[in-house]
C-alpha cells in the first residue's frame, strides 16, 4: 500500500478498478490452505486420543464437519456473519452474499487488498475448525447423522452470529457486529468466536448426550499417541495460517503474530510438562502435545496484542492452567471426552481475559492492558465479550443438541457403543494388522459383493 501511494500516477488506472495486492493475496491463499490443514491435523490429534474401536468415527466427525460447513458457509453462513448488519450488531443480512456469486468479480473487492471471495473462504475454514473441535466432547457414542445435523444447524445458529459480533468490523457504509465495533473487544483470530465458542458448545453437548459407558471407571487410554503428536504438530503448522493469516496481508502485523504464535505454543508445551512433572511425576508426550495446543489456544485472541515475551508468559500460563482444568470433568462428572472444555474453553478464557492484563500498545492492535498502564477498561471489555460468547454458545448448542436428542436421537445403542462405533456405524475397521486377515478359502474364494450381513 505504501509503495502504491508513492507512485500514484503510474498505477492510477489499475488502482481505479482494483486495490489488490499480490503479496497480501498470495499470503492469504497460502494461509487459507494452512487453516484447512488443521482439519486433518485435528482428526489425527483426536483420532489418536480415542480407543482403537472408535478412531474412524472420531476422524469422520471432523471430515464430515469440513464437508458440510464449507458448503453451508458459502450458501448462507458468510452472509449471516459478514453481511450488512440487520439488527443491533447481532446478525448479518443472510441474502447479501448468498452463494458468493456476487464476489466473483474484482469489482466487489472495494478497497480491500485481498479478494473478498478469498476472505470469505478463509473465514469459512475458521468455522470448520471450530465445529470440528466440538466433536471431541462426544467421542465414541454419537450417531453420525445426528452429528451432521447438529454441526450444520450450529454453523448457522451459533457460529455465524458470533463471528458477526466478533470479526465483522464496520467500514465505510458497512455496519458490522456489536462486540467488535461497539464494545471494543480485542480478539485477533478467535479466542471467543473459535475457542470459547467451541468449548462452551462442547460442554453443552457433553451434558446433553451423557457420559460414555464406563466413564471414570474403565481405563480409556489413547490408542495411538504418535498420531496425537503428529496431529498436534500439524495443528501448530496450520495455526500460523490461522493467526498470521488473520492479519489479512503479508505485512509487519503478520510477522509479529507469527512470532507470538510460535512462542506461545512452545511455552504452553513447557508449562504443561513442568506442571505434570511436579504434580504427577512424569513429563508425558500427551502433556507436551496438549500444552502446545493450550498455548496456541490462548495466543489466538492475543497474538496481535502481546510482546514476544508477553506471548511466552501467556502460553506458559495457559499450559499450566489447562493442565489443571482437564481434571474438572472427573470432579463434576461430565464426560468431555477429549478435553475440549479443559483446553479450548479454559485456554480461550485465559487468552481473551489475558489481553486485558498483558496487552501492550506497542503491538499491532495498539491497546494497553492493566499491567502496561492501560487500566481496567480493556479487561472489562474482554470479560464482557468472553462471557457473552460463552453463555450464548452454551445455551444455543444445548438447545440444538437437546432437540436432536429428543427427535432423531443423538446416541448409539449401548451394545453398539461397547462393540465399537466404527464397526457398527461405518462398517469399517481402522487397523487390520493380523496375518490371517488376508486368508481366503479355496472352496469359497469369492468375495461377497454388496451383500453385507447377508
Amino acid at each position: 500500500m505504501s509503495l502504491l501511494s508513492e507512485v500514484p500516477t503510474v498505477h492510477a488506472l489499475s488502482v481505479a478498478t482494483s486495490q489488490l495486492d499480490s503479496g497480501d493475496t498470495a499470503w492469504l491463499l497460502a494461509a487459507s490452505a494452512l487453516v484447512l490443514l488443521m482439519a486433518p491435523g485435528l482428526a489425527l490429534f483426536y483420532g489418536g486420543l480415542v480407543r482403537s474401536k472408535s478412531v474412524l468415527n472420531m476422524m469422520m466427525m471432523t471430515f464430515g464437519a469440513l464437508a458440510a460447513i464449507c458448503i453451508l458457509w458459502v450458501l448462507v453462513g458468510y452472509s449471516l456473519a459478514f453481511g450488512d448488519d440487520v439488527q443491533s450488531g447481532l446478525i448479518g443480512d443472510p441474502t447479501q452474499y448468498a452463494g458468493l456469486g456476487n464476489l466473483m468479480s474484482a469489482d466487489a473487492n472495494g478497497d480491500s487488498t485481498v479478494p473478498l471471495i478469498l476472505f470469505a473462504v478463509f473465514q469459512g475454514l475458521f468455522c470448520v475448525i471450530t465445529g470440528a473441535l466440538v466433536s471431541g466432547a462426544i467421542a465414541d457414542r454419537a450417531r453420525f447423522g445426528a452429528w451432521m445435523v447438529f454441526v450444520s444447524v450450529w454453523t448457522l445458529v451459533v457460529y455465524a452470529p458470533v463471528a458477526h459480533w466478533v470479526f465483522d468490523f464496520s467500514s465505510g457504509d458497512h455496519t458490522g457486529g456489536w462486540l467488535a465495533n461497539r464494545v471494543g473487544l480485542v480478539d485477533f483470530a478467535g479466542g471467543t468466536a473459535v475457542e470459547i465458542c467451541s468449548g462452551a458448545s462442547a460442554l453443552a453437548l457433553a451434558l446433553v448426550i451423557g457420559p460414555r459407558i464406563g466413564f471414570g471407571k474403565e481405563p480409556m487410554r489413547p490408542h495411538n499417541l504418535t498420531l496425537v503428536m503428529l496431529g498436534a504438530g500439524l495443528l501448530w503448522f496450520g495455526w500460523f495460517g490461522f493467526n498470521a493469516g488473520s492479519a489479512l496481508g503479508a505485512n509487519q502485523t503478520a510477522a509479529v503474530v507469527f512470532t507470538t504464535t510460535l512462542l506461545a505454543g512452545a511455552a504452553g508445551s513447557l508449562g504443561w510438562l513442568i506442571l505434570e512433572r511436579v504434580r504427577y511425576g512424569h513429563a508425558t508426550s500427551l502433556g507436551a502435545a496438549s500444552g502446545l495446543v493450550a498455548g496456541l489456544v490462548a495466543i489466538t485472541p492475543s497474538c496481535g496484542s502481546l510482546s514476544p515475551v508477553g506471548s511466552i508468559v501467556m502460553g506458559f500460563v495457559a499450559g499450566v492452567v489447562c493442565a489443571l482444568a482437564v481434571g474438572l470433568k472427573y470432579r463434576f462428572g461430565y464426560d468431555d471426552s477429549l478435553d475440549v472444555v479443559g483446553v479450548h474453553l479454559v485456554g480461550g478464557l485465559v487468552g481473551t481475559f489475558g489481553i486485558g492484563l498483558l496487552a501492550t500498545a506497542a503491538a499491532p492492535t495498539g491497546v494497553d492492558g492493566l499491567f502496561y498502564g492501560g487500566g481496567v477498561d480493556q479487561l472489562g471489555r474482554q470479560l464482557l465479550g468472553g462471557g457473552v460468547v460463552l453463555a450464548y454458545a452454551f445455551v444455543l448448542s444445548g438447545i440444538i443438541g437437546f432437540i436432536i436428542q429428543k427427535t432423531m436421537g443423538f446416541r448409539i445403542d449401548e451394545e453398539h457403543e461397547v462393540t465399537g462405533i466404527d464397526q457398527i456405524l461405518h462398517a469399517e475397521t481402522a487397523y487390520d494388522l493380523h496375518a490371517t486377515s488376508g486368508a481366503r478359502s479355496e472352496t469359497s474364494g469369492v468375495l461377497t459383493q454388496g451383500g453385507l450381513g447377508a
Partner: protein, 112 residues
C-alpha cells in the same frame, strides 16, 4: 512326547531362544500374549488421570519335544529367563498323544 509351554518376559525372549538352540531345539511357536500374576499391572497417566493397566505383555513359547529332552529344555528356559524379580513367568509340561508333520505326513517321534 511332551508339550513344553513357557510364558516369559518379552525382553528375555532372545536369551531363551539362544539357550534353547544350544540344547538342540530347532523350532518353536511364539505368541505375544498378555496377562498378570503376582507382578500385577502398572499405572499410566494421561492428562493427569491415572489408569491401572492390569495386563502385562508376555511372550509365550510352545515346543513339542521327545520325553528324554524335557528336562534339558525346561532347564534351558528357566536358566535363561530368570531375573529373580516378580514376573519372570512360568514353564509347564503336558503329555502329547500324537504329532503329524504337515509337509511329509510323518507321525509322532519322526515328526517332532
Amino acid at each position: 512326547m511332551k508339550l513344553v509351554t513357557a510364558v516369559v518376559k518379552p525382553h528375555k525372549w532372545e536369551d531363551v531362544r539362544v539357550a534353547l538352540e544350544a540344547v538342540g531345539v530347532t523350532g518353536m511357536t511364539v505368541s505375544e500374549v498378555s496377562g498378570y500374576g503376582r507382578q500385577k499391572g502398572h499405572t499410566e497417566v494421561y492428562r493427569g488421570a491415572e489408569y491401572d493397566i492390569a495386563l502385562v505383555p508376555k511372550i509365550r513359547l510352545e515346543i513339542v519335544v521327545d520325553d528324554g529332552d524335557v528336562d534339558a529344555v525346561v532347564e534351558a528356559i528357566t536358566g535363561s529367563a530368570h531375573t529373580g524379580r516378580i514376573g519372570d513367568g512360568k514353564v509347564w509340561v503336558v503329555p502329547v498323544d500324537s504329532v503329524v508333520r504337515v509337509r511329509t505326513g510323518e507321525r509322532d517321534d519322526a515328526a517332532v
